[in-house]
Amino acid sequence: MASSQPRLTYGQVTKDILKPMFNASAVYLALVGIAAATMSWGGYCWYFQLTRGLGAAGYQPPVFWGVYITTFVFWIGIGHAGTLISAVLFLFRSKWRTGVYRASEAMTIFGVMTAGLFPAIHVGRAWEAYWLFPYPNQRQLWQNFKSPLMWDVFAVSTYFSVSAIFFYIGLIPDIAAVRDRTRGFINKLYDGLSLGWRGTDRQWRHYMAAYGFFAAFATPLVLSVHSVVSWDFAMAQTMGWHSTLFPPYFVAGAIFSGCAMVITLLLPLSVIFKWDYGPDGKRTTHKHDTYQKQAYIGVWHFDSLAKMCLLTGGILTYAYGVEHYIGWYSDNVYEWGIFEYRIFGEYDWVFYMMCFCNCIAPLVWWKRSWRRNYGVLMVVSILINVGMWFERYNIIASALAHQYDPAAWTLYTPNWVEMGIMIGSFGWFFFWFLLFLKIMPSIAIAEVKELVRPPLKSDEEKGAAK
């Protein structure tokens, strides 16, 4: 960028990013209220199920995995993009990650927190959920570590722990910046949270070394967690599940849905908090994007996220095609039967919904101007989120409802308890996300400063000479 153009300064970055914090408008409070109400509806539904027994859920034997597992996989998938953006793109030194990674990581944490509720809800006796973890006990009972469900417990809890550490470590210098701009009780609170961080040479040296290792650890987790989730299905001898295709198929789907959710969440924030304005005070829309890379979260970031969705959506579409083709080519009547059932059976609308939202709708992003149009970005990203929920429902419900024995075929439809808990999970997720926006910097201050040209005496002297 030419030196005559306006530039962001370190001070401006701190000010801009901290500005939305603590300031609760009526609209914000209303949104928190809606999230809390939705969350409490979900809570009530869970209470209903806990007190009446798991029979209150709409399971239809032999379909014992329904909306809960669908929603569990959905939220784990949502949690994927955050770590992909923060860790994988960090190792690749991708610059567009900087603006969006903090909020994406928060999305990951809250997504996995939401997902973590569902195994407990699904097993019915939630108060016994700790039996999932290995702990010494007087009966010397241990889990079966050869079970993919046990792998999943380890995979998800490791993913949550590593993501939470990575998230918190990234926040420390920014929490210190908040501390230094506050007084009184809030100052003490943030001082504690920042662990007394002062950005000394010693601290930064070890911090950057450790951050690289955290990123290196988190990177294989992005691939492993959803692979392990996919083995929950693929290891079972259930038609429509038992496939080696599942791990890459699930990982691509998770990144696809996660990136779409990042767009859905960050686009309104970027507009409301004016994070898509360049240092010249102009919004970096597709019409004038001269300073696009200087905006905190602008068209450049959404364009990159949309490209990521195009790539992973393409892999997903290919996977849909391959699994159906292999089903037909295998000449196995049970295998092809389930795929035929998905297309032409009672769940056909789920299948078509999935295909439209995940395979067709994102295609509009091949056109550059539509990748940079906020309206199109918002609509398509929401469609992808809907489509990805239906994809998991399509995989789970149809396969269990239509297994080997025709006498056991059934039609599973979720009841109000399951749907209530599913909808409540969105309230729970948004409740935490909304709180996060106001109590933590949603963009990484220190890392954005790394993108800004540092203040140099030599620059000033050159400017004065001109």
Binding site: F154, P173, K457
Partner: protein, 260 residues
């Protein structure tokens, strides 16, 4: 007033400087090091800069964090595999159709997860240890709010009076924004950092935000539960009763929807 107040105290034997420009700071550090006066110095920056690290730690070995990481990863990998093997050998009832009790392919997943988890936890431990966190006992000179915003700090400690004078001379050449010799400082001046019109400083109503959100959430949750319960009692329960079923006295099994 909408501002943060900072008492700019500098101890005896210490020189504190605040720089606005990165290049002048790098040059100043270089010259102080060459003059062999930088044996006890602290440089603070609002962001990590490789040029600063290079000039300060030139010739030093890389951060030892990597040894914590390696140790943790090895510990985690061994522990993960051992946990699975020992428990399966300990409780041999889980014999899946004559397959081996200690199955390497099946145990690799949790071994991997354990490697990552413990590698990460040890790295965290190493970070806390090496950075000496929580760093509440750091010297007062670096606790300057400007240094997390847009200024760089350069503090040199353990200086004799003559050394401090020499350090002052060198640093003055690089035109720092502020240069204080602790030996000369009688009364620390107060630095006032004004915050802009909205600033970031949370005002009185803003700081109540969490309280507002908490109270509102509690009210909404209680009202929702009351509302949902009354809705249930008046409608869904009636429907169930019409089917000859009293949900209050009997557990719902297997599916209350099928109870006729």
């Amino acid at each position: 007033m909408n501002a943060v107040f900072y008492e700019n105290k500098v101890q005896k034997g210490t020189v504190k400087s605040v720089f606005e420009h990165l290049d002048t700071l790098v040059n100043a550090i270089d010259e102080i090091k060459k003059a062999k006066l930088g044996h006890d110095m602290i440089v603070t920056a609002p962001l990590p800069r490789h040029d600063l690290e290079h000039v300060i730690y030139e010739g030093h070995a890389p951060s030892p964090i990597r040894w914590f990481t390696l140790t943790g990863a090895l510990f985690g990998g061994i522990m993960g595999f051992a946990l699975q093997s020992i428990t399966h050998l300990n409780w041999a009832m889980v014999i899946p159709a004559g397959k081996p009790l200690v199955s390497i392919p099946a145990f690799l997943v949790i071994t991997f997860e354990s490697t990552v988890l413990w590698g990460c936890l040890f790295t965290l431990f190493g970070l806390v240890l090496m950075c000496r966190l929580p760093a509440s006992n750091l010297q007062v000179e670096v606790k300057d709010p400007r240094l997390s915003d847009d200024k760089f700090g350069f503090v040199i400690n353990s200086l004799k009076s003559s050394e401090a004078t020499k350090v002052m001379e060198i640093l003055r050449k690089y035109e720092p924004l502020e240069l204080i010799n602790g030996n000369d400082q009688e009364r620390p001046p107060q630095v006032i950092i004004p915050l802009d019109e909205r600033g970031f400083e949370p005002n009185e109503t803003d700081t109540d935000m969490l309280l507002k959100v908490g109270i509102m959430t509690t009210i909404i949750v209680i009202l929702s539960i009351i509302g949902v319960r009354s809705y249930f009692d008046n409608t869904l329960a009636d429907q169930l009763k019409d089917q000859g079923y009293n949900y209050k006295t009997k557990a719902v099994a297997p599916s209350y929807r099928n109870v006729k």
